[in-house]
């Protein structure tokens, strides 16, 4: 038992669980391999990992970094000098708009508009306007909340807080 652990790097139960999991996953792969466009399916499978981990993640992290660098002071005392941080009033509506785009981009961009019209008898043109409307409402709402918070904090962004309280 001790030798297996040393050779394998984990408990025998771990090995059994891994084998069971790979067996079921292997069955799924096997059935896909038997289908007419197996190669295309596997390419999409691998491309999904690549697109998320090496394209989407670095892309949105960089955007966040740019926002962070331009809106947040490098010192640790920024919290004291800016009681109302602007960055989240930008981040939250951006995240919500972006996620709704990621989920519904085929309709928003009209990528399937011909098929959509043919199948459902309706035009897919409405979705771009609706999505823009949702984005507008999110950013406007966020800006309003920011304005209210600034007013409550009794100053404008960047203005040092009165001391001695």
């Amino acid at each position: 038992m001790g030798r297996l652990r040393a050779t394998y790097g984990a408990s025998p139960l771990h090995a059994l669980a891994v084998i069971a999991s790979f067996a079921v996953a292997g069955y799924g792969f096997l059935r896909i391999a038997e289908s007419p466009s197996a190669l295309g399916t596997f390419i999409w499978f691998a491309a999904a990992i690549f697109a998320h981990d090496l394209l989407a993640f670095p892309f949105y992290s960089t955007l966040n970094l740019i926002a962070h660098r331009s809106l947040v002071k490098p010192s640790d005392e920024w919290l004291e000098t800016r009681r109302v941080p602007a960055i989240n009033h930008l981040r939250v509506p951006t995240i919500l708009s972006a996620v709704s785009f990621v989920i519904f981009f085929p309709l928003i961009l009209g990528l399937s508009s011909t098929k959509y019209m043919e199948y459902t008898g309706q035009s897919a043109d409405v979705f771009l306007g609706r999505w823009l409307g949702i984005c507008g409402a999110l950013f406007l709402g966020s800006a309003l909340i920011y304005a209210i918070r600034l007013r409550r904090a009794g100053g404008s962004p960047g203005e040092p807080e009165p001391t001695g309280s």
Partner: protein, 429 residues
């Protein structure tokens, strides 16, 4: 045995493999545990309703199974899909699509939270570690693949070379196998995180009181955290809002009624037109090549059983008519309940001398498509609400809703409610 190839240095190279590279103070085992715990029930419901959707097609009957032949036989279900409650498939498939939509923002947040793990150093520590990482590739690839194919399918967008159903169905075997292993292996970490920090306690901290989880080697807690700019509760509230919003779109088109038009981005969120036939269409008559000449005065319903019969639409209208409120529930997760009027299927069976139907093969006028011909079970024919509908909401069916006649069966998937019916072949038990 340590699997550490000699050419790899002990010290990670500069960049994302160094623990100091990852600065977010919010990343850590607790955050990942919370997101994972939220995903677990969603994935379970989504998976169960997904397999139920396959069962709803009664795949053991006739040519109903849309999956390729072969396999281990585990794709065959050993029960006949029930007809009660009538909203059964609207419920299961509405849940399938809605839970999938709710899960997507949580999945993206969870992937963000564990991203340092992709670059951990050394890349491989042992055989067990190598296998675990291979399984994680299946988990990430499988989840992205299954959710993406599902998402694009409900929006009728097919940019890929493969058949959606085969890829989505068998891709989910890969995803769920890796998911189950992941849950099993990570359960101790989740429990420890919750024990140490409380399940929800870190959400009480506002920005001023937000601190990074203590660094521990091999976890995602940061070695050199930056000052927080967002509290954990703001992050969770944002992800939660995205999930609630996406789920609402799904629920709006599944529940219908006044809620439908509020599901702004949902694919079936608008009424096609006013009037009795104005409700949502899955496939128009034109899209499947139905010509007006096929559905005019020359149309006959061909019935076969112990005897044969050919009925005109007027003859069908002269038979006893029944009206029921029944949903059309699409595999794409939307549904709509309407008042259908027509002849009971069992009356049609009796008209050709079949009192006890084993199954009926229903054929459509449409010339192509996997579902131009479906087999309904004995239970579906026996239910007195199962109709060959001629009218809807007091008006004749429109061409797009299946004129001259369509099947409507309670609890069944919409694609089993064949439109533009041309023949029905009843087999006696």
């Amino acid at each position: 045995m340590k699997l550490r190839p000699p050419q790899l240095p002990e010290e990670p190279p500069p960049g994302p493999t160094r623990p100091g590279f990852w600065r977010s103070p919010l990343r850590g085992p607790w955050l990942t545990s919370l997101l994972g715990s939220a995903l677990l029930p969603l994935v379970i419901v989504c998976a169960v309703t997904g397999f139920l959707s396959q069962a709803a097609y009664d795949p053991s009957l006739g040519g109903n199974s849309l999956l390729p032949r072969g396999g281990l036989g585990i794709d065959i279900y050993f029960f006949s899909w029930p007809t009660s409650p009538a909203f059964l498939y609207a419920l299961t498939q509405g849940l399938h699509v809605t839970t999938g939509l709710i899960a997507i923002p949580l999945l993206l947040a969870k992937l963000w939270s564990v991203m340092p793990k992709l670059f951990e150093w050394p890349p491989v520590r042992s055989i067990a570690h190598l296998l675990e990482r291979a399984s994680l590739a299946l988990l990430v690839g499988g989840s992205l693949f299954v959710f993406l194919t599902g998402l694009l399918n409900i929006q009728l967008y097919y940019p890929w070379p493969f058949r959606f159903l085969t890829a989505h169905y068998y891709g989910s075997f890969v995803f769920l196998a890796a998911f189950a292993l992941h849950v099993g292996l990570k359960l101790p970490t989740v429990l420890r995180s919750f024990r140490e920090r409380g399940v929800l306690r870190p959400l009480r901290a506002d920005l001023r009181h937000t601190a990074a989880e203590p660094y521990r080697e091999g976890t995602t807690a940061p070695l050199e955290p930056e000052a927080p700019t967002m509290s954990r509760r703001t992050l969770i509230a944002t992800v939660g809002a995205a999930s609630v919003g996406a789920g609402f779109m799904g629920a709006a088109q599944a529940i219908g009624g006044p809620l439908r038009s509020l599901g702004l981005l949902a694919p079936h969120s608008t009424q096609v037109s006013d009037g009795p036939n104005g409700f949502q269409i899955n496939k128009t008559a034109e899209s499947v090549g139905i010509e007006p000449s096929q559905t005019g005065r020359g149309w006959r319903l061909k019935l076969a059983g112990q005897s044969r019969a050919e009925l005109t639409r007027d003859q069908l209208l002269a038979m006893p008519q029944r009206t029921y409120d029944l949903p059309i529930a699409c595999v794409e997760g939307w549904s709509t309940t309407q008042a259908w009027t027509g002849v009971r299927l069992r009356d049609l069976a009796a008209a050709v001398g079949v009192d006890d139907t084993d199954q009926v093969v229903v054929e459509s006028l449409q010339s192509a498509g996997a579902l131009r011909k479906v087999t309904l079970s004995s239970g579906q024919v026996a239910d007195e609400r199962s109709l060959l509908a001629l009218r809807v909401n007091g008006a004749d069916l429109s061409p797009d809703h299946g004129y001259p006649a369509r099947v409507i069966v309670p609890g069944a998937p919409g694609v089993h409610c064949t439109k533009w019916v041309s023949s029905m072949q009843f087999e006696a038990a």
